[in-house]
C-alpha cells in the first residue's frame, strides 16, 4: 500500500551501492540479467500454476482439517481440509492476472495522456494536469472504493477502478520526459535540418519514452495487485466465489482468534514475495534500460 517510494531514490540506492562494491562490467550486467530472468520465472510460475498443478488439493478432506504447516502441506490446511498452498497459488494467480490487465490499461491511459500533454501543450496540457491534480487530492483508496462502487463492484469494478486510478504518475513522468526532450538542442537541430515531426518522434522520442514506459508499467503491477487485494479484502472487489488472495485473507480473519495463524500469514507472505519480485524485476530492468546506467 505504501510502496510509493520515489523511483529516483530506488535508482540512487542501487547505483550508489554498485559504486561501492565496484564490480567488473560483465558481472554487473549478468547479475542484472539473472535477476530479471529469475524474477520473471518466479512470477510466471505463480501465474501459470493453476494450469500446471490442476485442481489437486482443492477438494474437501474433512479428516485433515486445520492442520498447521507440515512437509506434506507447507502452508497448512483450512477448515475444510483444503491445502492452503494450492489455494494461495490459485488465488494469487487470479489476483496477478487481474492486476496485470488493470495495470496495462492504466499504463496505456497514462502514456496517451502524458504524450498528449507533453506534445500539444496549451489547454490540453492544462486540462490533463488539472485531472491529475484532482486525482492526487483524494486518498487513493477512497478513490478506488468510490469508482469500484459506482461501476457496480465485482471483478469488472475492481479492474475499472484500478485501471482508472494508477495512470497519474506515469502520465506525469512521460509528460516531463517529452517536455525535456522537446527542448533539447538536438531536436531543434533536427527540425532545422528539415526532419518531419513524425521522424523526430520515431527517432528521438521513442528511445527515451519506451524504457520509461516499460519500467513504469512493471512498477505499476505491484501497486495494482496490492490495491486489487485490498479492495477484495474489504469486500468491494471480487465475489467470494472467486478465491482471489484478498478473499482468502478476508476469510482467514474469521479463524484468527482460534489460533489458526497459517491461514492468514502464509498467503500474505506469498503475496508479499510476488510484489517484491515485481519490484526487483522492474528495478533491474531500469538499470539495464536507462541510458545512464546501462553501460555499467
Amino acid at each position: 500500500m505504501t510502496s510509493t517510494i520515489d523511483p529516483a531514490v530506488n535508482l540512487e540506492a542501487k547505483t550508489s551501492s554498485s559504486l561501492q562494491q565496484n564490480p567488473s562490467r560483465t558481472s554487473r550486467r549478468s547479475r542484472t540479467l539473472a535477476a530479471i530472468v529469475l524474477g520473471t520465472l518466479f512470477l510466471g510460475a505463480i501465474i501459470f500454476s493453476p494450469w500446471i498443478l490442476g485442481e489437486s488439493g482443492l477438494s474437501t478432506v474433512l479428516t485433515q482439517r486445520n492442520q498447521p504447516p507440515t512437509w506434506s502441506h507447507p502452508f497448512g490446511t483450512d477448515w475444510l481440509g483444503r491445502d492452503m498452498l494450492m489455494r494461495s497459488l490459485h488465488g494469487l494467480s487470479l489476483s496477478l492476472r487481474i492486476g496485470l490487465l488493470a495495470a496495462s490499461i492504466s499504463a496505456f491511459i497514462g502514456t496517451s495522456l502524458g504524450l498528449a500533454a507533453g506534445t500539444f501543450g496549451g489547454w490540453v496540457d492544462a486540462v490533463i494536469i488539472w485531472i491529475v491534480d484532482v486525482f492526487f487530492s483524494l486518498p487513493h483508496l477512497v478513490l478506488l472504493i468510490l469508482i469500484a462502487f459506482s461501476v457496480g463492484g465485482g471483478t469488472r469494478g475492481v479492474i475499472i477502478a484500478v485501471a482508472l486510478t494508477h495512470w497519474t504518475n506515469l502520465a506525469r513522468i512521460i509528460r516531463a520526459e517529452v517536455l525535456q526532450v522537446n527542448s533539447a538542442d538536438y531536436i531543434h537541430l533536427s527540425r532545422q535540418f528539415g526532419k518531419s515531426s513524425l521522424w523526430i518522434a520515431r527517432h528521438h522520442m521513442m528511445p527515451h519514452i519506451v524504457p520509461q514506459l516499460i519500467v513504469g508499467l512493471i512498477l505499476l503491477f505491484p501497486h495494482a495487485i496490492l490495491h486489487e487485494a485490498a479492495l477484495s479484502f474489504i469486500g468491494i472487489g471480487l465475489s467470494p466465489h472467486l478465491p482471489a488472495v484478498g478473499i482468502i485473507l478476508a476469510e482467514s480473519m474469521r479463524h484468527l482468534s482460534t489460533g489458526y495463524w497459517w491461514l492468514g500469514v502464509m498467503p500474505g507472505l506469498l503475496l508479499l514475495l510476488s510484489v517484491k519480485a515485481f519490484d526487483w524485476v522492474g528495478e533491474n530492468l531500469r538499470i539495464l534500460l536507462a541510458p545512464k546506467t546501462s553501460q555499467e
Binding site: I234, S257, L272
Partner: protein, 318 residues
C-alpha cells in the same frame, strides 16, 4: 480559493461518476422492500427527488444543497451525514495522530541512522526492513500484529474501540488507549518505510557535499556533522513528505480499521460502499479531499518556520 476550486472539481467528478453508475437510486433507497412498491410509486419517488430532471439541473440542485452544508442523511446510520462523519472522525483522529507522529519520528531516526552509516550492516538491515514494508499489504501487516499481540500474547484486544458490554460513556482512558494502540502501531509501522528511505537518501547527499568535507577536514566528528549539517537539511523534505503522507495514512486507516473492527471513519467508508449509502460515501469523499488539502497547506505553512532561508528570502523580496 484553491480549496473552493478543488472541492468543485471533486464535486463534478463525483457527481458524473455516480450518475453514470448502474445503481438505481430509488432501488438503493428502498432496498429489500422493492417488491412491495408499485412502479407508479417508484416513479413518484423519482419525481419527488427530481430524477427526471436534466443532468445540469440535478447537478446545480445538488451542489446548492452541498454549499448550504446539507450532505444528506446516511442510510446506514440513519443520521445526518455530517454528524456521522464528525463522530467517526473523532474516533479515527487519535489513532491517525499517534500513527502520524510515531512514523514521522521513527522514520526520521531510522533514516538518519541508515544514512550516517550508509553501506554498513545497520544500513542494510534498515533498508531491507523499509523495502519489505513498502511492498507489504497494509491489511496483512495488521493481521500479523493481530495474530502476535492479540491472539498469541493476549496483551492487546482483538477488536473494537471498547471492551464488549461497556457503554461508551463508561470507557476509561486506559481502556480507550489499550484499544487504540495496536491499530495506531500498524499504521505507523507501514508509514515508516517511505520517510526512512527519503531521509537516508537526503542525508547521503548532504554527507557528500563540500561543506561536510570541509567540516571533516576541520576534525568534526560524524555525529556533530549529522547534528549541525545533516538534520537541518533533512528536516524540510521530511516534513513535506510526512504531511503529504496524510493521503496514504487515510487510505491505510480504512484497511486497518477493517481488520481491527475499529469504529472510525475508515470503517464507515467501507460500510457506506458495501451497503450502497451514497450520501455517506460522497460526504466522506469530500471530507477526505479536505483532509489531504489541509495536510498540504500545513506543510506550506511549516516551511518558513523551519527554514530561515525561505523566511528571510520572503522579507527581502518585500
Amino acid at each position: 480559493m484553491r480549496l473552493g476550486l478543488l472541492l468543485i472539481a471533486v464535486a463534478i467528478f463525483t457527481f458524473v461518476l455516480l450518475s453514470l453508475s448502474p445503481i438505481d437510486p430509488v432501488q438503493a433507497y428502498i432496498g429489500a422492500d422493492m417488491m412491495q412498491i408499485s412502479a407508479d410509486q417508484q416513479a413518484l419517488i423519482a419525481e419527488r427527488w427530481g430524477l427526471d430532471q436534466p443532468f445540469w439541473n440535478r447537478f446545480l440542485d445538488w451542489l446548492g444543497q452541498i454549499l448550504q452544508g446539507n450532505l444528506g442523511v446516511s442510510l446506514v446510520f440513519n443520521r445526518p451525514v455530517s454528524e456521522v462523519i464528525a463522530a467517526r472522525f473523532q474516533a479515527s483522529l487519535q489513532m491517525l495522530a499517534i500513527a502520524w507522529l510515531l512514523s514521522g519520528l521513527l522514520g526520521l531516526a531510522l533514516g538518519t541512522l541508515a544514512g550516517a552509516v550508509a553501506g554498513s550492516w545497520i544500513d542494510r538491515v534498515i533498508r531491507l526492513y523499509a523495502y519489505t514494508l513498502a511492498a507489504a499489504p497494509t491489511f496483512w501487516v495488521a493481521l500479523l500484529l493481530l495474530i502476535v499481540f492479540a491472539v498469541s500474547w493476549r496483551i492487546a484486544p482483538v477488536c473494537c474501540a471498547a471492551p464488549p458490554g461497556v457503554l461508551s460513556q463508561n470507557v476509561t482512558v486506559w481502556q480507550h488507549l489499550h484499544h487504540l494502540l495496536l491499530p495506531a502501531m500498524t499504521l505507523s509501522i507501514i508509514g515508516i518505510a517511505n520517510i526512512t528511505l527519503h531521509t537516508r537518501q537526503k542525508l547521503i547527499e548532504v554527507l557528500h557535499s563540500d561543506y561536510v568535507l570541509f567540516a571533516l577536514a576541520q576534525g568534526e566528528n560524524l555525529w556533530n556533522i549529522v547534528r549541525y549539517h545533516g538534520l537541518r537539511n533533512i528536516l524540510l523534505p521530511a516534513i513535506t513528505l510526512q504531511f503529504a503522507s496524510l493521503s496514504e495514512l487515510f487510505g491505510g486507516s480504512v484497511l486497518v480499521e477493517q481488520v481491527f473492527a475499529y469504529p472510525g471513519l475508515g470503517e464507515a467508508t467501507v460500510q457506506g460502499a458495501l451497503r450502497s449509502d451514497v450520501p455517506l460515501l460522497v460526504g466522506i469523499v469530500f471530507f477526505s479531499a479536505l483532509f489531504v488539502y489541509i495536510g498540504n497547506t500545513l506543510a506550506d505553512l511549516a516551511y518558513p518556520i523551519i527554514d530561515p532561508r525561505i523566511r528571510l528570502g520572503g522579507q527581502m523580496n518585500r
